[in-house]
Amino acid sequence: MSLKPNDIATLVELFNTSGWEEMHVEIDGLQLFISKDPKARLVGGLGGGTTMAPPIAPPVARAAAPVATAVAEPADGDIPAHWLKVCAPNLGTFYRSPKPGAAPFVSVGDRVTAEAEVCLLEVMKLYTAVKAGVTGIVRRVGVEDGSLVEHDTVLFYIEPA
């Protein structure tokens, strides 16, 4: 049995919606460990030489909780591996400013806290603020202001600091 990227996404979704605190899956030598505790480490550790992905951030308020995950693979070319993604919790139109003409919530180089509001997502005239979910420096804006974003689209990259 071979594990596909979609299977991992499914497992993570399942974990996120479950009441579980930790999940440890081992298939064909591949080990996956997910925990809602940021300090959690797999007891006994993973096999020698394996790099362990940091645990995913605990889902904050479900309504607009961005799931900040470490960039696991060297995707997007020049994105350093330790930058964290702020992803869209659902589909919507992405707005960087609280209203047209106003200054954006955040710009590249700004320092944000986990609670900082970084953008708005509009769904049928209903605007929801998205929080950074991590503390750090905004390094990149993932999408154009005013564009349609899908669930899980990377909105910002933040360098933890």
Binding site: K4, A9, L91, M124, E150, H151
Partner: protein, 441 residues
């Protein structure tokens, strides 16, 4: 996928809204464009009407097809589409709301002269319920006005039963549907579930595509459907079609719908139950016997082109049977059985149709309805369709998840099913116990 296939055949561009769990499904691969609405749990994706309409609007869709699950029968979705100038492939929001409420649907049926199960209007007190029950004659069934699909129903065989179930029924109606209004109907002991496929143009013009018999049910969930309903005497069938058409014309219903009836086997009479204001899972059996693409009819009506056909264009030929393939274990209380399909080799041959989004290595996700496909067979007669069904199931290799095909094979081979001698109680009272006692293959 069923809808995408017809849309593509008609040269219509498509956008499919999916949840994160479905972004790599066959449907997603087939669609012109895919947008991920939200995470896997349907509450945050498929059940959020605002998300769905926002996605349609932002991607420039002219029309929105709601499918047959999730929001397809919610007036809210139709309403939002109306507000945004998007053609909803279904009835008007007001029609969905009027037919979705059982009491209001009964009133429309009565106005159209459609027979309804003898029953009452809204009942508010136990006293009124007891009076009504003694007038109707036991057994009776209490139903939630906002209910449907078998939920929110309580049967009472005597006055003591009624006392016990009245409060429970109204409490459950309140908690399940947010509406505690109840009404009462006489309980039909031996019934078959028959339904008429209709399409209306919204102006009172209606055509029907014959009837289906969906009496093989477990907990009001249909497992096997067939067309036509050969157990009906000819005069009952004519009455059934006429009643469905009158009701749909009276409601000035737009697009495809199903008018469901109870056939009282002992009285040889039909009674209106409810209207399903959407295309249904079992629509393929009607397509097979009439040769018409019902999704194409839906798109034509939604595009403002009217019905495009008259009743004389619709002829029923032969017999079709559909079995639902659910990823559930029929030997373990129908427990869901998500997982990866390790072997998938469906049957091929004349008269065999398979509607499915599954395939080799497909991962059945744990989030949604467990249906992974529908096997449909067509033959010149019911007997021919039935033997094709048995051969098709026997030739279907499906491993990796537990599924309902072994049960379907058992039913297809049962003398009662072969003789077309069953009611809506048959599967639970006779079929399942016999299946449980049979050796596992």
């Amino acid at each position: 996928m069923r809808i995408l296939r017809t849309a593509h055949r008609l040269g219509i561009e498509t956008v499919l809204g999916v949840s994160a769990a479905d972004r790599e499904t066959l449907g997603a691969k087939m669609a012109g464009r895919v947008v991920v609405l939200g995470p896997a749990p349907s509450k945050f994706s498929y059940l959020n009407a605002n998300l769905v309409v926002h996605a349609a609007k932002a991607t420039g869709c002219d029309a929105l097809h709601p499918g047959y699950g999730f929001l397809s029968e919610k007036a809210e979705l139709a309403q939002l589409c109306e507000g945004e100038g998007i053609a909803f492939v279904g009835p008007r929001a007001a029609t969905i709301a009027a037919l979705g409420d059982k009491l209001s649907a009964r009133a429309i049926a009565a106005a159209a002269g459609v027979p309804i199960v003898p029953g009452t209007d809204c009942i508010e007190t136990l006293q009124a319920a007891r009076a009504a029950a003694s007038q109707l004659g036991y057994p009776v069934v209490m139903k939630a006005s906002a209910g449907g699909g078998g939920r929110g129903m309580f049967k009472a065989t005597c006055a003591e039963d009624l006392t016990a179930s009245f409060d429970r029924a109204s409490l459950e109606a309140e908690s399940a549907f947010g509406d505690r209004r109840l009404y009462m109907e006489r309980f039909v002991e031996r019934a078959r579930h028959v339904e008429v496929q209709v399409v209306g143009d919204g102006e009172g013009n209606v055509v029907h595509f014959g009837e289906r018999d969906c009496s093989v049910q477990r907990r009001y969930q249909k497992l096997i459907e067939e067309a036509p309903a050969t157990a009906l005497p000819g005069h009952v069938r004519d009455k059934l079609h006429a009643a469905a058409v009158r009701l749909i014309a009276e409601a000035r219903y737009r697009n495809a719908g199903t008018v469901e009836f109870l056939y009282d086997v002992d009285r040889e009479d039909v009674y209106f139950i409810e209207v399903n204001s959407r295309i249904q899972v079992e629509h393929p059996v009607s397509e097979e016997v009439t040769g018409h693409d019902l999704i194409a009819c839906q798109l034509r009506v939604a595009g403002g082109e009217g019905l495009g056909l008259t009743q004389s264009d619709i002829q029923v030929r032969g017999h079709a049977i559909e079995v639902r393939i659910n990823a559930e274990d029929p030997r373990a209380g129908f427990a869901p059985s998500p997982g990866r399909i390790t072997r998938w080799a469906p049957p091929v041959g004349p008269g065999i149709r398979l509607d499915t989004h599954a395939g080799q290595d497909y991962l059945v996700p744990p989030y949604y309805d467990s249906m992974i496909g529908k096997l449909i067979v067509h033959g010149a007669t019911r007997a021919e369709a039935l033997s094709r069904l048995q051969a098709a199931i026997a030739g279907f290799t499906l491993e990796g998840v537990r599924h309902t095909l072994p049960l379907a094979a058992f039913i297809a081979g049962h003398a009662d099913f072969q003789a077309n001698r069953f009611t809506t109680r048959w599967l639970e009272d006779t079929g399942l116990p016999a299946f449980a006692a049979s050796p596992a293959a």
